[in-house]
Amino acid sequence: MAVTGAVLRSAYTQFSRILSAQGLRSGQKEVAGLRCPLTCISVHLRSQQFGGTCGRMFSNSSSSATSSPAAELSTRPEWSLAATNSKDIISNIESKLGSADLGRLFAVVHVGGKQRKVTSEDIIIVEHNFPPTVGDKIRLEKVLMVGSKDFTMVGRPVLSREQVYVEATVVEKTLSHFKTIFNYVKTKGHRKYKLKRNEQTLLVINNIQLRQITS
């Protein structure tokens, strides 16, 4: 019985195959040559805006008309970034880094022992000890990833300070609700009951900026 349009394989395996395409790995070396070693390892390109060949990554190619889309993924030439004008794509992205027409950016930020995906105007809670008090403007420095609608920059493990700027404001410092800590061991007479409240800090992310490295 024919099934039209259904995706039978899990998308994860497909996606990992796409990422593990030979071209992307050689593309990484190209990127590392263009920037300082501590910054992004791969520039995952999403749409046709930053390079025509990239847009063809997910469309049916005219050259290999006989082969099916899913087969021979890692050896298809148009998926290889090395074969395409990757330097042009990357320099195109770099030239647009400071501009405002990137749209809304997200960042993966490491704060208070946890990593959060964050955009501007959204709220996160940091638990336990966090020195900045209410009203303080903070720069969040540990940024692991920044992405826009068209591209993503992945840090290794963290993006450089000159490239990314994430600002936040401390809006509230409270105590959490009462959390019960109950330790009980049966038949041993061991029971401890405690109510605990921990400090919470509310951060509002003000803006995320990508800046051009002037080197």
Binding site: V3, T119, V134, E172, H177
Partner: protein, 206 residues
């Protein structure tokens, strides 16, 4: 009798909000809510949410000694640092000293400060200053965003060839085994690149 009828009329769950049958503090029984920022506070300018602080104390009782010390030593500094907050003093005889904090969203928080030393009262006053008026409940998420997706929400058809939409399944080509280098082959190739030495198998003696 009248109470039971009222409960029946209201509906099944409305009278048990925040209460479980055995008095346990489960996540389901205690009130919970999502994270809230009062009127997008930090986005433009930060505004202190504490509108009014009332220190009610007794002039003579020993309970209020800390409160009286706070009023004498620390209260004026607080008022100077926080010009947006109004501080009222309310001497009330033969009553426990209390801190009453009123917030811009209309909510009130009270704290009984009997037998507290003045530095502890200072800490509690600071606590009230840094709070917004939002009720303290179990938070369902430690974050809140109005724009959860920037690159588009994932679906199984994202990053897939759109030709799959018009493919009839089962497809002979797609059903073929993938002849690309396997994961094992690729790892071995990487090892050869790096120059990892091949380990010889251990002999029986070792």
């Amino acid at each position: 009798m009248a109470l039971r009828i009222d409960i029946l009329l209201l509906g099944s769950r409305s009278h048990c909000l925040g209460r479980s049958p055995h008095g346990k503090m489960t996540g389901r029984s205690i009130p919970s809510d999502f994270v809230k920022n009062v009127l997008q506070n930090g986005i433009g300018r930060y505004v202190c949410q504490l509108q009014r602080l009332t220190v009610s104390f007794c002039k003579s009782h020993g309970d209020s000694r800390g409160a009286r010390d706070f009023v004498e030593n620390h209260m004026l500094d607080f008022t100077k640092k926080n010009p947006g907050t109004v501080v009222y003093l309310k001497p009330r005889r033969h009553r426990n000293p209390r801190l009453v904090a009123e917030y811009l969203n209309g909510r009130t928080e009270t704290l009984n400060i009997r037998n507290m030393p003045q530095d502890e009262i200072c800490k509690w006053v600071e606590h009230f200053r840094t709070r917004s008026g939002v009720q303290v409940v179990r938070l369902r998420k430690q974050w809140h965003t109005e724009t959860p997706s920037i690159q588009g929400v994932w679906s199984p058809f994202t990053n897939r060839d759109s030709e799959l939409n018009v493919t009839e399944f089962p497809d002979a080509e797609l059903s073929k085994a993938i002849s690309a280098p396997t994961a094992t082959d690729r790892v071995l190739a990487m090892a050869r690149e790096i120059g990892v030495k091949k380990h010889e198998p251990l002999s029986e003696k070792e």
